[in-house]
């Protein structure tokens, strides 16, 4: 007799029949009926109509029946909230049952019923269960708090459950600790700001103790929680690492990977000179290798993570190349990942083996995999210079096989090899040309055309070859058309006499007969270049191209560091920061690696390094725990990843031909000032959301202001490196003796040198504009930063912005143009002659209509009237009169903005009350709010 009988009744009267059976007097019949209901539920049938009848079966001594009813309740309570109330009494009673299993079951089920009315009744039983003598009940109750919080967060806070939960971290039973941690982590995720998991050395110690004793799943929760902790110095980091290392030998791969995350993160703080550092590196390799012998699904996730680990610390797995060799019956998703890692691990030492393998893969059945293997050979050539020749000959062998897709893929990668080693392997061109006719994929055709154009002078019949492509010009894809256009122009510049007709033909095809704007634009540019100044055309089109490097397929270092903090998560599988795909974007806190204390690069020994102080190079920023962006700013990324210093990232090939060097020489000839490229006018609103977010931060960050002169806020990151191809810009505004300046720090976090900086502002409310070009004297090497003070004036063109103090900035360097926006504090616009005559003040105050008066509260300010007045004076807010009315000080003040707007203020200070009242009167009332913000910033710092 099996349960499959429950599936057989599918006739119409089914529900009626079940109803009758559920109301039967016989226990056995009832139970059978409930089982049938459950069975229907599992296959997705709707049996919610039976709700009252099923709930009636709930009061029973039979545990199995009870469990089944509970199962049903959890599924349908939400759709029948009023009915669900019927169940409450039984729940409350079950929570008092002498059997802990039933108590736990009741509290667990109640938490799963997401009906508001029920939650009220849940509080008392839950409170009891959290203090239950039986740890099984306590651990179930801990989870229930998280469930309840999800339904009604306010209720959980009001009832003090969060504190009880925090107490459970010190519970004697490790399972209770683990569940409490898990529940708190989950609650904390939906409240990123709350300091629920206040980790300190004591609580960390408790967690580490529980780690050894709780179940595998509990270990995962605890390890993930540990990974968020920031040890105070390298010694603490090491001791945590020592206690986490045994987890690497756990049979559960999720435990292993969470442990790897903790170690990878804390390792960042350890000095490389330490013996322990080396030991740890050695210990990390075997567990990672072992993950690859698990089920393929686990392997896949492990491989995606290993891909990150290999990029961050290649030394860990450098001897383990062979474990990444592909087995022919690996699932395709495993094969592709293994291939990727093989290339990352390829080095001079193992390249022979790798190439032999890749060649083997190129004869496999799966087309996608074969293509990727061929491409991998090209990547090896670019990565390991010594192997380039061997790679090229391997590729030629493959071309000889005449397998169509292999040939095409090989030609695409050979083009890249030419880009990396110009004038070295051109002897193979003849072989490539033999396969011209078999190419039917756009990418391969485009690559071949590029090769013909680039080496036109060495190919006798280059014109014939290109002409043959021209015949079907309009049927080609854009990629091929663009390439063909450029190649023929190149050919013309190299052999002008024979190819005039050809170039005419292609230019007219591109400009007159094409609907594609890109193609037309490029055609016109060439046409105009050729007709006005052929010498310049030659310089532009035949300019020397930057070499490509293998670094182009590495993950950008700042992103990599963030991903390392997310090892084992979905972020690490997608290689995207969590913010990029987690829905709602809420609860996403950027994580950053801890800074290394006492790094080997500094001459200090680890002992003398100031413990606990991150290597801050900007004393004005006080890193707080919450200020992760600030930490990121000070992040010492360790030794730069070595790479060819002049290597530029590979830009789309076509774009390089046209612009790489071309436009630079066209426009860089000026004073280095930034001229937007034609047709790419500065969009006026890009980057606004980003900028305003950062601007908010601006107001919040504390710092040390200078009392002499206007208050200067600490620098904040305006343009994160992730958004600007490795260029990070942070800065602040200052005003000193009448001149405004923008103090910038440019940091190069990319792998290539940056140069040719220029800056431009969009029109803004007060006409702020750079008074001088951005002067960066030397090119900026990787990991280097430079501080610049850019003088500003207010004579630029004016456009009202929202918010008023929004400033949109474009910064250009040799890589690209980047846009960001920031909010400037209004007090940089308060001029020195802002003191009004007393009479004038009184008259103006009366003159400005009352509806223009706005009142603000400045809270928590403990200064007295005199210090307020002197502090404000530093920022050009002048006190005109001071009165004492009924024990409270009244300050009358004035200030003037650069555009001549006067703002009058009355500041009321009560000695006993830390909050001041500020009344502002101004003919342009929209500035009041920003003046108030300036007041607050100045007074609070």
């Amino acid at each position: 007799m099996t349960d499959s009988k429950y599936f057989t009744t599918t006739k119409k009267g089914e529900i009626f029949e079940l109803k009758a059976e559920l109301n039967s007097d016989k226990k056995e019949k009832k139970k059978e009926a409930v089982k049938k209901v459950i069975a229907s539920m599992t296959v997705g049938k709707d049996v919610s109509a039976l709700f009252p009848d099923v709930v009636n079966c709930m009061q029973t001594d039979n545990l199995e029946l009870k469990k089944l009813v509970y199962l049903y309740l959890m599924n349908y309570a939400k759709s029948q909230p009023d009915m669900a109330i019927m169940a409450v009494n039984t729940f409350v009673k079950d929570c008092e049952d002498p059997n802990p299993l039933i108590r736990a079951l009741a509290v667990r089920t109640m938490g799963c019923i997401r009906v508001d009315k029920i939650t009220e009744y849940l509080c008392e039983p839950l409170r009891k269960c959290l203090k239950d003598e039986d740890p099984y009940v306590r651990k179930t109750a801990a989870v229930c708090v998280a469930k309840l919080h999800d339904i009604n967060a306010q209720l959980v806070e009001d009832q003090g459950f969060l504190d009880t939960l925090k107490d459970l971290i010190s519970d004697s039973n490790p399972m209770v600790v683990a569940n409490a941690v898990a529940a708190l982590s989950e609650i904390a995720e939906s409240h990123p700001s709350s300091n629920l998991l206040d980790l300190n050395p004591q609580s960390i110690n408790k967690l580490l103790t529980a780690l050894n004793e709780c179940t595998e799943w509990g270990q995962i929760f605890i390890l993930d929680c540990l990974a968020n902790y920031m040890p105070k110095d390298d010694r603490e980091a090491q001791s945590i690492c020592e206690r986490v290392t045994p987890r690497l030998s756990h049979a559960n791969s999720a435990v292993v990977l969470s442990a790897v995350k903790v170690l990878m993160k804390f390792m960042e703080m350890l000095s490389k000179d330490l013996d322990y550092y080396g030991t740890l590196l050695k210990k990390l390799a075997p567990p990672l290798v072992t993950l690859l012998s698990a089920e393929p699904e686990l392997q896949y996730v492990a491989l995606r993570n290993i891909n990150l680990i290999v990029q961050k610390r290649p030394e860990i797995l450098k001897h383990e190349m062979k474990v990444f060799f592909v087995k022919y019956n690996d699932p395709i998703y495993v094969k592709l990942e293994k291939l990727d890692i093989m290339i990352r691990l390829a080095s001079q030492a193992n390249i022979a083996q790798v190439l032999a393998e890749l060649k083997e893969y190129a004869t496999e059945v799966d087309v996608d995999f074969v293509r990727k293997a061929v491409r991998a050979i090209g990547r090896c050539a670019i990565k390991v210079e010594q192997s380039a020749e061997r790679c090229v000959s391997t590729l030629l062998d493959l071309i000889q096989t005449k397998v169509n897709y292999v040939v095409q893929e090989a030609i695409v990668v050979i083009k890249d090899i030419f880009r990396k080693y110009p004038n070295k392997y051109e002897s193979v061109i003849a072989t490539l040309c033999e396969n011209l006719d078999s190419l039917d994929e756009p990418e391969a055709r485009a690559a071949m055309i590029w090769i013909v154009g680039e080496y036109a002078e060495r190919i006798d019949n280059a014109d014939e070859l290109l002409e043959s492509f021209l015949e079907g010009f309009h049927d080609e894809s854009t990629q091929v058309q663009l390439q063909l256009l450029t190649a023929i122009v190149k050919l013309f510049l190299k052999k002008p006499t024979e190819t005039q007709e050809l170039v005419q033909q292609v230019l007219s095809l591109a400009t007159q007969d094409s609907d594609n704007p890109d193609l037309r634009d490029r055609g016109y540019i060439y046409w105009r270049l050729l007709s006005t100044d052929p010498v310049a055309a030659k310089e532009v089109v035949l300019a020397e191209k930057p070499l490509i490097s293998e670094e182009t397929d590495l993950i950008e270092p700042t992103l990599l560091d963030e991903l390392i903090c997310h090892i084992g998560t979905l972020a690490s599988v997608y290689h995207k920061p969590p913010g990029a795909f987690v829905e709602g974007g809420r609860g996403v806190v950027h994580k950053s690696l801890p800074p290394r204390t006492g790094s080997s690069e500094s001459a200090e020994s680890p002992d003398t390094a100031p413990a606990g102080v991150p290597a801050a190079d900007q004393p004005s920023v006080i890193p707080t725990q919450g200020d992760l962006l600030g930490d990121l700013l000070n992040l010492d990324l360790g030794p730069p990843v070595s790479g060819p210093p002049v290597a530029t990232s590979s830009v789309q090939m076509g774009a390089v031909d046209l612009l790489g060097g071309g436009l630079d020489s066209l426009m860089g000839g000026g004073s280095g000032g930034f001229a937007p490229a034609p047709g790419t006018a500065v969009p006026s609103n890009t980057g606004a959301p980003l900028g305003s977010g950062l601007g908010d931060l601006f107001d919040l960050t504390g710092g040390v202001g200078t009392l002499s002169g206007s208050y200067v806020a600490p620098k904040t990151v305006w343009l994160p490196a992730m958004k600007a191809k490795g260029l990070e810009i942070s800065g602040t505004f200052s005003r000193q003796v009448g001149s405004i300046s923008m103090d910038l720090v440019l940091t190069n976090k990319a792998l290539q040198v940056m140069s040719d900086f220029a800056i431009q502002f969009n029109r803004n409310s007060f006409g702020l504009a750079p008074a001088a070009p951005l002067q960066v004297h030397a090119p900026l090497a990787p990991n280097q930063s430079v501080e610049i003070s850019l003088p500003l004036n207010t004579v630029g063109s004016v456009m009202k912005m929202d918010p008023l103090n929004n400033l949109q900035v474009a910064v250009k360097n040799n890589i690209d143009v980047f846009y960001f926006s920031t909010l400037y504090p209004l007090h940089i616009l308060f001029v020195e002659d802002g003191k009004m005559e007393r009479q004038m003040f009184l008259a103006t105050w009366k003159d400005i209509p009352n509806e223009n008066e706005t009142q603000f509260q400045i809270k928590d300010c403990s200064l007295n009237a005199d210090s307020v007045s002197s502090k404000l004076q530093g920022s050009n807010i002048f006190t005109i009169a001071k009165r004492n009315v009924e024990g409270q000080d009244m300050l009358y003040q004035s200030l003037k903005l650069t555009n001549g707007i006067w703002v009058l203020a009355e500041l009321r200070i009560q000695p006993s009350n830390p909050s001041f009242t500020l009344s502002l009167k101004c003919r342009a009332p929209e500035v009041s709010q920003y003046v108030y913000q300036a007041y607050e910033t100045i007074l609070k710092n």
Binding site: N179, W217, F221, T290, S293, V301, E360, G568, L570, V573
Partner: protein
């Protein structure tokens, strides 16, 4: 509006609502068979519409074979994490950031549990036991927190079905749900229940090694590694404390232990010291990597050639023992995926039986035992589709075999001692070597 469409709408609303939350708790499980039918669903929090599986079906269609369906599939509101075992897809639907390994490990644990409960894990058996399945799943996870995943403990909570129990239950009206809190659940040794009693006390250990290797055309080893496990069947009364020591523990530098093993003791003395779970369990798994010398127990001589001109090719393979320490290689099975253009094969084996499936192009040859005096061989001709050029790819030969009484890594147990109890148990150690993914390229 029909009830169904109203439900849909309702579900849609909930999923939008919940999309704002960031939760582990969102966890639904769908079981899907090879034909693409959902035959079981279980929701731990809110009901997620079946339609979410459409994304999975799309991926399934794209993948050439079931094995190639990617294990992580993103959809606009959910993530689908799946494992494929016993020709069933176990698809977990989660929302936002959850460690994927956590979920995948859990899914494998679910499959293991089913297998443990029902002997086999198949669609039929799951449907036959749907209520038990449901009860077990409910016991395994609560709000995204795994509860009881040790089958020892699960079986105390939900008794596995047996024919006898079903009959007894029907007669007496008793249930298959335990009403006592499992004893091991919260003790310091959560993996062992108290009050275990046996009349015959016995402890058996199987050292099983699987050898994964890739051998190239010329017969030289490209990679070879050993995945070893020690599986135990321990039926001992009371709370025995065991120690197991090895002759050559140095071989074990990459190990994963059952939670019962005391790690400190291993670190300092290289001795396995543990209070065992009751019954069957995996004590440790280990990995002997390519760096150490891995002995290759068999070799394959092959001569497979296709000619461009004729539509006939030659095929000849011979299998022989290599480094077997004098033990017999048995259970030998050779399989090879032939190129698509192969029409048929006419072969004669010197022993065993062979099959060539002209549809899947899979050649399999069940060799049996290798007699070193008379090496088994398979010879004959391959006919290719007329008019096609010779195949681009070379067939890879896949080998399976078993060697009893031998751990190919050379691992040997020195002794097994028991403390904490007075009686004398029966002890036994068995060794076995098997082929894992053993591939010979031609």
């Amino acid at each position: 509006m029909t009830q169904k469409s109203r439900d849909r709408l309702c579900e849609h609303e909930t999923s939008v609502l919940i999309a704002q939350r960031n939760h582990l708790a969102e966890f639904s499980l769908f079981l899907i068979n090879a034909a693409g039918d959902i035959f079981l669903e279980k929701h731990w929090k809110s009901v997620v519409s079946r339609s979410v599986c459409d994304y999975f079906f799309e991926a399934q269609e794209r993948a050439s074979e079931a094995e190639n369906v990617p294990p992580v599939i993103p959809t606009p509101h959910h993530y689908l994490l799946s494992v494929y075992r016993h020709k069933i897809f176990f698809v977990a639907v989660i929302q936002s950031e959850v460690p994927p390994l956590f979920v995948i490990e859990f899914l494998h644990r679910v499959v293991d549990t089913f297998q443990d409960y029902f002997g086999v894990c198949s669609e039929v058996i799951i449907k036959d036991n749907v209520v038990v399945v449901y009860e077990v799943l409910e016991e395994m996870l609560d709000n995204g927190f795994p509860l009881a995943t040790e089958s020892n403990i699960l079986k105390e909570l939900i008794k596995p079905p047996t024919i006898l129990r079903t009959v007894v239950n029907t007669i007496t009206g008793s249930t298959n749900v335990g009403d006592q809190l499992p004893t091991g659940q919260l003790s310091v040794v959560p993996w062992r229940r108290t009050g275990v009693k046996y009349t015959n006390n016995e402890a058996y250990f199987d050292v099983i090694e699987e050898i994964d290797a890739i051998i190239d055309k010329s017969g030289s080893t490209i990679t070879a590694e050993i995945q070893g496990v020690i599986d135990a069947c321990v039926k001992l009364t009371g709370m025995p404390d065991l120690t197991l020591s090895f002759m050559n523990p140095r071989l074990l530098d990459d190990v994963s232990f059952h939670p019962c093993v005391r790690f400190k003791r291993w670190e300092s003395e290289r001795i396995l010291s543990f209070i065992p779970p009751d019954g069957n369990f995996r004590l440790l798994s280990y990995h002997v990597s390519a760096q150490n010398l891995v002995a290759i127990p068999v070799y394959v001589k092959h001569n497979i050639s296709f000619r461009d001109s004729s539509s006939l090719g030659r095929f000849e393979i011979t299998v022989g023992p290599k480094q077997t320490m004098g033990k017999t290689v048995e259970g030998v099975m050779v399989t090879s995926q032939m190129p698509k253009s192969v029409l048929n094969m006419t072969l004669t084996p010197s022993q065993g039986t062979h099959v060539f499936d002209p549809v899947t192009k899979l050649l399999s040859w069940d060799v049996g035992k290798i007699n070193p005096q008379k090496l088994p061989s398979l010879k004959g001709s391959v006919s290719l589709q007329a008019g096609t050029s010779k195949p681009d790819e070379n067939p890879t030969i896949n080998l399976q075999f078993k060697i009893q009484q031998l751990a190919i890594s050379g691992l040997k147990v020195n002794r097994l001692d028991m403390y904490g109890e007075k009686y004398k148990p029966f002890k036994g150690i068995k060794y076995m070597t098997k082929a894992g993914k053993f591939q010979v390229r031609t």
